[in-house]
Symmetry: C2
Subunit: 213 residues, 2 copies
DNA sequence: ATCGCAAAAATCGTATACAATAATTGCCGG
DNA sequence: CCGGCAATTATTGTATACGATTTTTGCGAT
């Protein structure tokens, strides 16, 4: 859904209220549909719903941020290993395209889009590993990581990322499970180390502006 | 929700149709509420929704069954380790109560209830580990495991289970992370080994009967 | 008797209307 | 001038109504 993308691309920020009427107006759909979408997003941890108060973009706590990366540390290295065992040339090609897109987005200054693509790289690896169940979990974790990054990221440059992804791609191309597992583990540690896990409160702008701008 | 419990206790079986009107009648609520619940259950993999056809209790394929246990194998041993590091006497007491209830349910011939309690034992361990994110994943996996068991279980006796849970409880009581991790790993392997992962098609009885009986 | 097609019934998807709850505003008293 | 209470406004929760799609049923032809 487009609202999910807006969250992934940091066009709507944690804490922002997602009024049912307002979202419905923006997308030209009824509240029924909006409610469905919001509840689905709540299930993935992207929004929190407070009874009789409405839906808000989730603001992961520091503890939750750590939990997300701990869960990723349990799931992704092993998944990268399995992916390296199974990766075909077609898979490698798809991942290459992903990285290319990611670079282009960065070059065009679209940091939000680049972040979203960077996340889908991880999801694609789970798909290559042929683990749909784990893939769904990783998708959730990547989504929530995006919120964590919106809240706790220190640097503004995401250059380090692309290097790690390149190295992972190489390991998959060589069908080298050990390398893939280690690289993924290191990559996650790197990501976590670049977070500033202290309390901050993000600013909340206008929803309509963020979606239409 | 009560419908979720009915699935966990094998009172409604995989493949059974969950008509919105019928479920609404049984519980005395509107279709709106039923739809919310069904969509939530679909998100957890308990039911599958086919557009314009309705919701059905999910029938995990053999591949999906394997995936569920592979995911559990990635998450639960580490979680048991963490739980063993943190377990307090109160935690141990809660788990003991769980096992007692489980035994009583078995003694009373309520196999479905015993199965549900056996699942909540695993979830409780994640709670003790203080990992809410992973806890939510394990909850999903336990739910889906219940469906897998309904479809692929061979023996009718679940006695082996209680022994494994006892041993795990001991490891937690002794705050022995290594033992907890190994025991959990072995427990999951045992569970998987008792499944007959060949295609079967379960019989589907009447919904209203199953819920009200 | 069986297959195919058409009409009827049932069921789901979406929109809208009404009720319940929370947030806001304005007023009054201190 | 400030704080608290009441009425108003806004927003969500739930039910219901209508349209779309699918499934079933019944009839007729082969």
């Amino acid at each position: 859904m487009r609202l999910t993308e807006a969250v992934h691309e940091h066009r709507v920020l944690p804490g922002m209220k997602l009024s049912e009427d307002e979202v419905g107006d923006v997308f030209g759909v009824s509240r029924t549909i909006v409610r469905q979408a919001l509840r689905a997003m709540a299930h993935e941890g992207l929004v929190t719903i407070e009874r009789n108060r409405g839906a808000f973009v989730a603001k992961p706590s520091v503890k939750e941020a750590r939990e997300v990366f701990e869960a990723r540390a349990l799931l992704e290295p092993q998944t990268a290993r399995a992916a390296a065992e199974r990766a075909t040339p077609e898979d490698v090609q798809i991942l290459e395209a992903h990285i290319t897109e990611e670079h282009r987005a960065l070059a065009e200054g679209k940091a939000g889009l680049a972040l979203k693509l960077s996340g889908s790289f991880h999801i694609e690896i789970a798909r290559i590993a042929d683990q749909r169940t784990i893939e769904a979990f990783i998708q959730q974790l990547v989504s929530r990581s995006s919120l964590v990054i919106a809240l706790y990221w220190q640097r503004r440059n995401a250059l380090c990322e692309s290097h790690a992804h390149h190295a992972l791609l190489d390991a998959l191309r060589r069908n080298d499970p050990d390398a893939a597992e280690d690289l993924m583990k290191g990559h996650l540690v790197d990501l976590l180390s670049q977070l500033n896990l202290r309390e901050t409160q993000g600013s909340v702008a206008s929803l309509r502006e963020a979606l239409l701008g």
